[in-house]
């Protein structure tokens, strides 16, 4: 997701429409910036306090102009436009670069049809390989998110409520330091650990615990471990922040009223930490589903994660429309899924940004 590459193949419709579209595309950022500007100017009138300084007065004209243009540019040019371009791209057929804008170019659902049926034309059989990878990716991401949550929750609880300041600092450091090593290196390190002749297998076989080494990578255990590890901190810190702000007396009050420890966690701590839980789970799920390095390096030969398929559409098959369509399907599915889960657990979007 979030491929921000411009198309390698410029398209051209009729010259009039083309210049119109191009003009519009270039105008949009300026329009948006203007809207931001008006909003900023109106801010004071909306404020209850009439003596409050407006956005312009507070920051000075030059600084205000810079902030508005910078934020506007970043939001529009870096995020919205490339994504819109991808959306547009996904509805075109695959053509040689020079033919885009030519007579062959038209809007089509071919790329989406291919994802489902394995053919741009036929609808007789399903694209089992890609569909399976897609479902598996979503399912496994849910699994990774669950694992990550259950792994991080006790640790976050301990750090937030029980650990002394010295131990807390040390734990924080131990958590953060490994993330100075880049993701690829960490994935390869994991591969060395988990390989059939890796450290863990050698140890277990050497100690006589196992007769035969276990193929952690082939069983995808390596991949799941790698994914959970890669996004550990993104689960850890929202949980820690949420639990840390819980008044310790509430835990003791529940205990004093006779609650066993699991009841306290389920009914006092977790409801309170719900925004943090939602925020952590959302990030881990989204990033796992879109992860590329861990599945490629740690994935077994039988596993087919969805993102490498997307990657291959772009760079192996040179099929940019199909790549765009696949990326978009993944993105939308993830968003819809997260929204649905948040609705079920009654968390709103504002809460998780706290």
């Amino acid at each position: 997701m979030g491929q921000r590459r411009a198309s390698p193949c410029p398209r051209a419709g009729s010259p009039v429409i083309e210049s119109l579209v191009k003009g519009l595309l270039f105008a949009v950022p300026f329009v948006i910036v203007a809207v931001f500007w008006i909003l900023a100017a109106r801010e004071r009138r909306a404020a209850a306090d009439p003596s409050a300084k407006s956005f312009l007065e507070r920051n000075g004209g030059v600084m205000a102009a810079f902030l508005i243009v910078a934020v506007g540019f970043w939001a529009i040019v870096m995020i919205v436009l490339p994504q819109l371009y991808m959306v547009d791209f996904s509805f075109h057929p695959k053509l040689p670069a020079k033919d885009y804008g030519g007579p062959e170019d038209h809007y089509t659902l071919a790329s989406y049809r291919y994802f489902i049926y394995g053919s741009t034309e036929e609808t007789d059989s399903y694209n089992i390989v890609h569909l399976r990878a897609f479902v598996l990716t979503i399912g496994a991401s849910i699994g990774v998110t669950f694992f990550s949550f259950w792994f991080c929750y006790p640790l976050a609880y301990f750090m937030a409520q029980s650990a002394g300041p010295a131990r807390l600092r040390m734990l924080m450091l131990l958590l953060i330091l490994p993330f100075w090593v880049n993701e690829i290196l960490r994935a390869f390190a994991m591969r060395i650990m988990l390989g059939t002749s890796g450290l863990i297998n050698n140890l277990l076989v050497g100690l006589g615990v196992l007769a035969e080494p276990i193929d952690f990578l082939g069983l995808d255990i390596g991949m799941y471990t790698g994914l959970a590890y890669a996004y550990l901190l993104l689960m850890m810190f929202p949980l820690y922040n949420a639990i840390e702000s819980l008044d310790r007396n509430q835990i003791e009050a529940a205990r004093d009223l006779g609650a066993p420890w699991w009841h306290i966690h389920l009914n006092v701590v977790m409801p309170f930490a719900k925004p943090g839980i939602a925020s952590g789970c959302t990030m881990v799920f989204m990033l796992s589903a879109g992860a590329l390095a861990a599945p490629q390096i740690l994935g077994g030969p039988n596993s087919l994660w969805f993102t490498p398929i997307v990657y291959d559409r772009f760079y192996q098959a040179f099929n940019w429309p199909q790549g765009s369509a696949y990326a978009l399907i993944l993105l939308l599915t993830c968003i819809v899924f997260v929204m649905a889960v948040m609705r079920v657990f009654k968390v709103n979007l504002g809460e998780i940004t706290r």
Partner: protein, 361 residues
């Protein structure tokens, strides 16, 4: 089963720090008992030990005759009301009160009946569906009490629950707490640094200082017959005069103080040459010279009119001023600032105690 709470030579240490020193006392079933002392004296530590959040380093806590060692806070017949109340903010009033019942697996209908009963007892009828954030300070207080009473504890422990309220509400809640205690008839153990709260509500009070229980008695005893210098200076206003005992006979002593020789009662059996502090309450001091030897004179620093009474501050022998309270009815001329006034007190008003640490206020 009776629910007497007994502390038997209880010591509580945190590393090298001794928070509670050899506490031994017995709180009777159905009593309103207060621990009174300045902050840091160990009273909250005692409360947490009774409730089961702390184990004594040494000694035994017994409730209803049963040794509580190894029994966690969730399995003791006590309920604690926290200083900040610690209500569950995401639950309604009714859910808060029902929490302890829910934990115990009490059937829904029974829970509802009990919650209604407690809402009535604590004057919260029709507030059950409200959120905690919608309540006033006094209402939150009552929810905390109802939540604790819901589990039918044998002993209710209260950790300065009124300290967050404003003065008016605090005085109102004192009466209410006392009334609730009399209605439910269980033991209340109350922690406070406010002597007014302790004196008005309690059957008995334990005055604590620096981890030690200095005196246990009912309010009147603690106020009128303090046994240590700390209790005399902490409970109620008092004027201390330090010195050496120069005469002791027939239950009375004479203490040689910087402002002259002063006489007083001698309940602790002070002997000739002992270091002593002679205490006289501000309302027992009278302006003007009196008959006998218990007269002293000092320079008037300030006269403060406070409506029903006036306070006269005189330069004392130490940094602390001598305070005299003059009632409105007493037809005495109030002295002018700067003049030297004579003051005296009745023979029974002076109380000599062994020298010791005073409450610093």
């Amino acid at each position: 089963m009776s629910a007497d709470v007994e502390l038997d030579h209880v010591w509580i240490r945190f590393g090298p720090f001794v928070a509670v020193r050899d506490a031994t006392l017995r709180i009777e079933n159905g009593e309103f008992f207060s621990f009174l002392g300045p902050s840091g004296c160990g009273k909250t530590t005692i409360l947490r030990t009774i409730s089961g959040f702390l184990e004594p380093s040494q000694g035994t806590v017994r409730i209803g005759g049963q040794d509580m060692r190894g029994i966690g806070a969730n399995r003791r017949p006590t309920a604690l009301i926290f200083q900040n109340l610690a209500l569950f903010p995401l639950m309604t009033v009714a859910e808060n009160i029902a929490y302890g019942l829910r934990v115990r697996g009490v059937p829904r209908a029974e829970q509802r009946r009990k919650v209604d009963e407690l809402l009535g007892l604590t004057a919260l009828r029709d507030q059950g569906t409200k959120r905690i954030a919608e309540l006033s300070g006094g209402q939150k207080q009552r929810v905390a009490i109802a939540r604790a009473l819901a589990v039918e504890p044998k002993v209710l422990l209260l950790d300065e629950p009124l300290s967050a309220l404003d003065l008016k509400l605090r005085q109102h809640m004192r009466n209410e707490l006392r009334a609730i205690q009399q209605r439910v008839g269980i033991t209340f153990i109350y922690i406070t640094h406010d002597q007014g709260e302790a004196l008005t509500m309690s059957d008995r009070i334990a005055v604590m200082n620096a981890g030690m229980i200095e005196q246990v008695g009912d309010g009147q005893t603690v106020f009128d017959e303090p046994t240590t210098a700390f209790v005399a200076s902490f409970v109620g206003e008092n004027n201390p005069f330090q010195g050496k005992v120069v005469a002791a006979h027939d239950g009375r002593v004479t203490v040689d103080t910087p402002v002259g020789r002063l006489g007083g009662r001698n309940p602790r059996g002070l002997k000739l040459g002992d270091d002593a502090i002679l205490f006289v309450r501000p309302d027992a001091l009278r302006l003007g010279p009196g008959a006998g030897g218990d007269t002293l004179s000092a320079v008037v620093l300030n006269v403060a009119f406070e409506g029903t009474m006036s306070h006269v501050f005189l330069k004392g022998p130490t940094r602390k001023d001598i305070i005299i309270t003059v009632g409105r009815g007493e037809s005495q001329r109030l002295p002018e600032q700067g003049e030297t006034a004579s003051i005296h007190y009745g023979a029974a008003a002076g109380l000599a105690l062994p020298a010791g640490r005073l409450a610093s206020d």
